[in-house]
C-alpha cells in the first residue's frame, strides 16, 4: 500500500492503492509512518505523492460503516495524526505533491509537509462534518501554517477548493498547470533542498517547529476531540446513509 523509491539524495514515498483513489486504511497509515521514519535516515529530502489518478480520497469509509464501536475510525484518526506528526518531526524537509484531489484525511497530510505543490485544478478540503466526523484532528497543524480565519472556514465548510484558491490561503505553496507535472516539480524541489547545506536546513526546520509549538502542542487535544465522536449514532447513521 506504500511504495518507496530511493534516488540519489531523495526518497519518494507514495500512497499506493490507486484502485481506491489511495483511500486510507489503518495498515496503510502505519506503513506510511514507518517508511517516512526509515527514509528520513536514508535521504536528505522526502517527497510524498499518490499513485494513480489522484493524491488521496481520505479514509476508506466503507470500513467504518457498520462499526458501532468505531474501532476502525479510531485507528484511522490515530494513524493519521501520527503520520502528520512524524512528517513534521523528522529532521529532513518534506515536500508533498497533490495531483487531482486531497480530500479529508488526504488533505490533513498537508499539515505535516514543509512545502506543498498542487495542480491548479486539484480539489482540496475537509468535508467530514457531513458524515458526523470532526476534522479537529487537523486543526493544530493548520493553525501553524495558515490564518486562524481560514482554518475555521475550511474545517466547518464541506466545500472543496481548487489548487489556486488553496495557494491563495497558504495551504499550498506553489501550483502547476497540469496534474501530470506535480510529481516532476515536487521531485525537483526536493532535489534543490537536498543540495543545500544539511546542517542549516536541519537547524532551520527544527527551529521553525519550535517556534510553532504553541500551536502544534494542541495536536493531541485535536485528535482527542475527533476520537470522542467515533462510533456515535450521528456518525453511524450518516456513514450508513452513504451506501443507503
Amino acid at each position: 500500500m506504500i511504495k518507496v523509491e530511493l534516488q540519489d539524495q531523495i526518497a519518494i514515498v507514495s500512497l499506493d492503492r490507486p484502485e481506491k483513489r489511495n483511500a486510507m486504511v489503518p495498515e496503510m497509515l502505519s506503513q506510511l509512518d514507518q517508511e517516512i521514519k526509515n527514509c528520513a535516515h536514508k535521504a536528505r529530502a522526502l517527497v510524498i505523492l499518490g499513485e494513480g489518478k489522484t493524491f488521496c480520497a481520505g479514509f476508506d469509509l466503507k470500513m467504518c460503516a457498520n462499526d458501532p464501536g468505531g474501532e476502525t475510525m479510531r485507528q484511522l484518526l490515530t494513524g493519521l495524526s501520527m503520520v502528520v506528526r512524524t512528517m513534521r518531526a523528522i529532521e529532513v524537509p518534506v515536500v508533498l505533491g497533490v495531483h487531482g484531489a486531497a480530500v479529508a484525511g488526504g488533505c490533513a497530510m498537508l499539515g505535516g509537509a514543509d512545502i506543498v505543490i498542487a495542480d491548479e485544478q486539484a480539489k482540496l478540503g475537509y468535508p467530514v462534518v457531513k458524515i458526523g466526523v470532526s476534522p479537529a484532528v487537523s486543526a493544530a497543524f493548520m493553525m501553524a501554517s495558515i490564518t486562524p480565519g481560514a482554518v475555521r472556514t475550511r474545517l466547518v465548510d464541506t466545500e472543496l477548493i481548487s489548487g489556486i484558491e488553496a495557494k491563495r490561503i497558504g495551504l499550498v505553496h506553489e501550483t502547476v498547470e497540469n496534474r501530470d507535472d506535480v510529481r516532476g516539480r515536487a521531485v525537483e524541489i526536493a532535489e534543490i533542498l537536498a543540495k543545500k547545506p544539511g546542517s542549516a536546513i536541519r537547524a532551520t526546520k527544527s527551529w521553525l517547529n519550535e517556534i510553532c509549538e504553541p500551536m502544534t502542542n494542541n495536536a493531541q487535544a485535536g485528535l482527542d476531540v475527533s476520537l470522542s465522536l467515533t462510533g456515535s449514532p450521528e456518525e453511524q447513521e450518516r456513514l450508513a446513509a452513504l451506501w443507503g
Partner: protein, 251 residues
C-alpha cells in the same frame, strides 16, 4: 567617515536611514549600535511614525558577512555579538509606541528582510529583491524566524526560509511580505510618504494601545525565543560547513 545611521524628523514622521551604501547597508557592529541609538531616540520622541530605509541602491543586505567569517575577522565571538545585538534591536523596534514602516528601496536580504517583518507596515517596489538565502550559505535565520512567522504565517514562512533564494517585490507582495507596492523605484518615496502621512493621522495613544495589544496577542513580547535564536544562529554560523560556504561566497 559619515554617520552609520541618519535620523531625521519632519513633523510627526521620523526617518531612520541605514547609511553604509558601499556595503549595501550590511549590518556591522557600528550599524547596529547606530540603529539602537536612533531607535532609543525615537522611542522618547513625539513622533507617531518611524520609517526605516536604506541609503543608496540597497535597503539592507543582512549581516556583515566579512564580520562573521572568522578567518577574516579573527574574532570567533563576533558572530554571536552581532546576532545578539540584532535580536535586541528587533525586540526594541517591535516595542515602539510609534507605528513602524519599512521602506524597502532595494535589496532586503536575510537579517535585512527580517527587519521588514518586525515593522508594522512594509512598502516596496516591483524591482526590489527580498528574501532569506541563509540556508544557501549554510547558516540559519533563527533570530528573525519568529518575526517572519508572525508576518507570513508558519506555512509560508517555512517555505521561504527553507527554499532560500530571493524574490521580486511583486512576489513578496503576493505572499504578504510587502503590504504596499510602487511600480518602480522612482515611485517608492512618494508612496512611502503617502502611507506615513496617513498613519500619522492616527491618535498616538490609540496607535500605541493597539500595537501593545497586538504584540501581546501574537507573542511579540516573548523575548526569550528571539534571544535563543541568536544563540542557535551563532552555533550554526560557527560550524565548518557554514564558514566554508561563507568563504566561498566572499571569494
Amino acid at each position: 567617515m559619515s554617520a552609520p545611521v541618519i535620523l531625521e524628523t519632519k513633523g510627526l514622521i521620523a526617518t531612520l536611514t541605514i547609511n553604509r551604501p558601499e556595503a549595501r547597508n550590511a549590518m556591522s557592529i557600528e550599524i547596529l549600535d547606530g540603529m539602537h541609538k536612533a531607535v532609543d531616540e525615537v522611542a522618547s520622541s513625539d513622533a507617531s511614525v518611524l520609517v526605516i530605509t536604506g541609503a543608496g541602491r540597497a535597503f539592507c543586505a543582512g549581516m556583515d558577512l566579512k564580520a562573521v567569517l572568522i578567518e577574516l575577522s579573527g574574532d570567533p565571538g563576533l558572530g554571536e555579538e552581532l546576532l545578539t545585538s540584532l535580536a535586541k534591536l528587533t525586540l526594541k523596534i517591535r516595542k515602539l509606541a510609534q507605528v513602524t514602516v519599512a521602506s524597502v528601496n532595494g535589496a532586503a536580504i536575510g537579517g535585512g528582510c527580517g527587519l521588514t517583518c518586525v515593522c508594522d507596515v512594509t512598502v516596496s517596489h516591483a524591482d526590489a529583491k527580498l528574501g532569506f538565502p541563509e540556508v544557501d550559505l549554510g547558516i540559519c535565520p533563527a533570530v528573525i524566524a519568529p518575526w517572519v512567522v508572525k508576518k507570513l504565517g508558519g506555512g509560508v514562512a517555512r517555505k521561504v526560509m527553507l527554499m532560500g533564494g530571493v524574490m521580486s517585490g511583486q512576489e513578496a507582495k503576493d505572499i504578504g511580505l510587502v503590504d504596499h507596492l510602487a511600480d518602480d523605484r522612482d515611485g517608492l518615496a512618494e508612496l512611502t510618504q503617502t502611507i506615513a502621512d496617513r498613519l500619522a493621522t492616527g491618535g498616538p495613544k490609540a496607535l500605541a494601545a493597539t500595537k501593545g495589544l497586538l504584540n501581546e496577542i501574537d507573542g511579540s513580547n516573548e523575548a526569550q525565543m528571539v534571544l535563543k535564536g541568536a544563540k542557535l544562529s551563532a552555533a550554526v554560523l560557527a560550524t565548518p560547513e557554514a564558514q566554508a560556504a561563507l568563504a566561498a561566497r566572499l571569494k
